[in-house]
């Protein structure tokens, strides 16, 4: 047992990298759920984004184009869900689950020719002298661009929902689609936009896995990350900054337990691994025990279909 072999700064830096895919997917899903749509297809959109991004990056040689392709791929797949649930009024839970299965199959098919190929490397952002700062340098200024993009995205979503008029409309649609409709807002269009944004974010998260964190293409490589992203949104009680906290907590526990094991500490891995889920359950229990607050947190129209005739 030698805890001195763990460098806490390297650990925090690794934690940020490990958390970025679920953070991206979760912040996208938060916007979707805020608009009153429950899309359980995050896993499918992530894995599709992973292969789209990987394929584009390999073919073009540019990781940036790869991420763009991933966002596009995720958004297109999510719009499939959007059309089915918003125009054809299919059940959101069932359609979302189907989207996950479809995404897993589609990505396996698309990825046939990309197994064992190395993607072009994504460099770290060069902050010059900032990167040499003690403590802060390695934690804050030694990452690739996507880590900063994910953080900026959280801030942007927070500001959008809290301060912008469009954000208010989105929240109104999610709280009461009839009222929003009566005011003349295009409920279906707003929701489609939110769904596409969620798909793009999930796609980015998937591409972060295949292009930076692993980096390679393997079938089924998201291995449940999409479900964790869904849990984080609930854990965060639909608040952007808490999504950041939740994602770093989930990612942090994973990285921490791996490092503790590597250092030879006999940690009860099962307990560490389940702790974020236990916290999620606790959050749900606490939220539902206080009716007034629960009404404030979960979007009231979450998961309900809307048709202008109703």
């Amino acid at each position: 047992m030698d805890l001195s072999s763990i460098n806490p700064l390297v650990l925090i830096a690794a934690l940020m990298v490990a958390s970025t895919p679920i953070l991206l997917a979760a912040i996208g899903e938060l916007v979707v759920e805020k608009s009153g749509v429950l899309n359980l297809g995050v896993e499918g959109m992530m894995i599709t984004g992973a292969i789209c991004g990987f394929a584009v990056a390999v073919e073009s040689g540019s990781p940036a184009l790869g991420f763009l392709g991933a966002a596009l791929g995720g958004a297109v797949l999510s719009l499939l869900f959007g059309v089915l649930t918003q125009y054809l009024l299919s059940n959101q839970v069932a359609t979302g689950l189907a989207l996950t299965l479809f995404g897993l199959g589609l990505s396996a098919l698309m990825g046939q020719g990309y197994i064992g190929i190395k993607p072009p490397a994504t460099g770290d952002v060069n902050f010059g002298p900032l990167a040499d700062l003690p403590v802060l340098g390695i934690v804050l200024f030694s990452h690739d661009l996507m880590v900063y993009v994910s953080l900026a995205l959280v801030a942007a979503v927070w500001a959008f929902l809290k301060y912008s008029r469009a954000g208010l409309i989105l929240r109104a649609v999610g709280e009461s689609h009839e009222a929003a409709h009566a005011l003349g807002y295009k409920v279906v269009r707003v929701r489609l936009a939110a769904i596409a944004f969620g798909g793009a974010c999930a796609g980015l998260g998937g591409a972060y896995l295949s292009l930076i964190r692993v980096p390679q293409w393997t079938e089924g490589m998201t291995a449940g990350a999409g479900w964790i992203a869904l849990a984080i949104v609930v854990f965060a009680s639909w608040k952007p900054w808490r999504v950041l906290l939740g994602a770093y907590l989930f990612g942090g526990v994973t990285v921490l337990q791996l490092n503790l094991q590597a250092a030879g500490l006999a940690v009860p891995v099962e307990y560490l691994s389940m702790s974020p889920y236990i916290i999620t359950i606790l959050v749900l229990v606490i939220m539902s025990s206080n009716r007034g607050r629960a009404a404030l947190t979960a979007p009231a129209a979450l998961g309900r279909s809307f048709h202008a005739s109703s």
Binding site: A108, I117, L209, V214, Q216, T218, V255, L258, Q261, A263
Partner: protein, 359 residues
């Protein structure tokens, strides 16, 4: 409607079972249950290669079906039952965690033959088969002990089951033999397949000074993670993983299931199938050592190949005394060789390993 389908499937299963016994020309249906996707590049990939070999060998006489990414545990029973109802005559369940589900479903379908990989529970219609991966681990341990500069070997383990513990012991014994200062850091990933987690585990080990990464998980993610780091070597697991050669992947353990799958399918066709326990190693060809790359010095390579050949010929057993258990008690006396029973149920580390096995 659905119930009618199930009933029709059951009827079909019975008629097929009867047909196979009567030796008619209905194709024999062989099913495979996989723990990961066929494109994992490791464990499941090789089982699927075995399935493809069966198809090629028998042509129209055999039909194969498979299901990927079946979770270990209760859900496996559902997948197995479905496959049996669809009329499979022979079903291979290819992960340790399918042991109890296989036994349970086999009891309900006495006419269907089951083959469970890496387990130890058998029945009249359930065989077990496994490969002596630890023979390959011994060769890896030798190369690792010779190649490491930091004297620290990182080991990404999956679940604390005998097969994995056996591999750790075999690698450690042979690394220690050539490098007394060697240390093993072991991470239990508690998964067979999760590329992101496997990559994180490899990174954690490398950050803490390991320059050899051994893995007992199924994906090639640890290879990809090690690729960007100078001086770190890895070994392919279950499959050759040669796309990462010559560095970081310097050699590999390859599982070759094809001959076994063909032989067992033939036995079903001939009606000679019986419940057996097969455990083959390098000698019969179920375990192969992937080409040792040029990154390994010639003398180390020659020694490793000599060890491989000695194990194949039966002249050397990787668990040969004197060996002590971790707690210091005697296990094998000078020249004594471990018996298969102890190996199959191995639940202890050998002397020198500092970690403890999780419960």
């Amino acid at each position: 409607m659905k119930r009618r389908n199930v009933l029709a499937g059951a009827a079909l299963a019975m008629s097929l079972g009867g047909a196979a016994l009567a030796g008619s020309h209905e194709p024999v249906k062989v099913g495979f249950i996989y723990v990961g996707p066929v494109g994992d590049g490791g464990w499941t990939y090789e089982h699927n290669q075995g399935r493809l070999a069966v198809e090629e060998h028998f042509g129209d006489a055999v039909e194969t079906v498979f299901q990927e990414s079946v979770p270990e545990g209760a859900d496996a029973e559902r997948a197995l039952t479905q496959m049996a109802l669809q009329g499979a005559d022979l079903i291979f369940t290819t992960s340790f965690g399918y042991m109890d589900p296989t036994i349970n479903v086999a009891a309900k379908f006495p006419d269907v033959k089951f083959e469970h990989a890496t387990g130890y529970k058998r029945a009249d219609n359930v065989s077990t088969y496994s490969a002596r991966f630890y023979e390959g681990r011994a060769v890896q341990g030798h190369i690792a002990g010779k190649m490491t500069k930091t004297n620290k070997v990182g080991y990404i383990a999956s679940f604390p089951i005998p097969e994995v513990i056996r591999g750790i012991n075999a690698a450690y014994i042979h690394a220690k033999k050539v490098n007394p200062d060697i240390e093993f850091s072991i991470i239990w990933a508690y998964t067979w397949f999760d590329p992101a987690k496997e990559a994180d585990a490899a990174n954690a080990l490398i950050e803490q000074g390991a320059d050899v990464i051994l893995q007992h998980t199924d994906s090639t993610a640890p290879q990809a993670a090690a690729q960007g780091v100078d001086g770190v070597i890895t070994f392919g697991q279950a499959s050759d993983m040669s796309e990462y050669a010559p560095l970081p992947r310097v050699s590999s353990i390859i599982d070759n299931w094809a001959p076994y799958y063909i032989a067992r399918t033939q036995a079903v066709i001939d009606g000679t199938w019986a419940s057996v326990d097969t455990w083959d190693g390098i000698g019969p060809g179920m375990v192969e050592i992937g080409e040792i790359s040029d990154a390994v010095p010639a003398d180390v390579k020659a020694e490793a190949e000599a060890m491989r050949d000695a194990i194949a010929a039966g002249g050397y057993h990787p668990f040969t005394g004197p060996l002590k258990k971790q707690d210091g008690s005697d296990w094998l006396a000078e020249g004594e060789v471990a018996d298969d029973g102890t190996l199959a149920g191995m639940n202890f580390y050998v002397e020198g390993l500092t970690a403890t096995i999780p419960n």
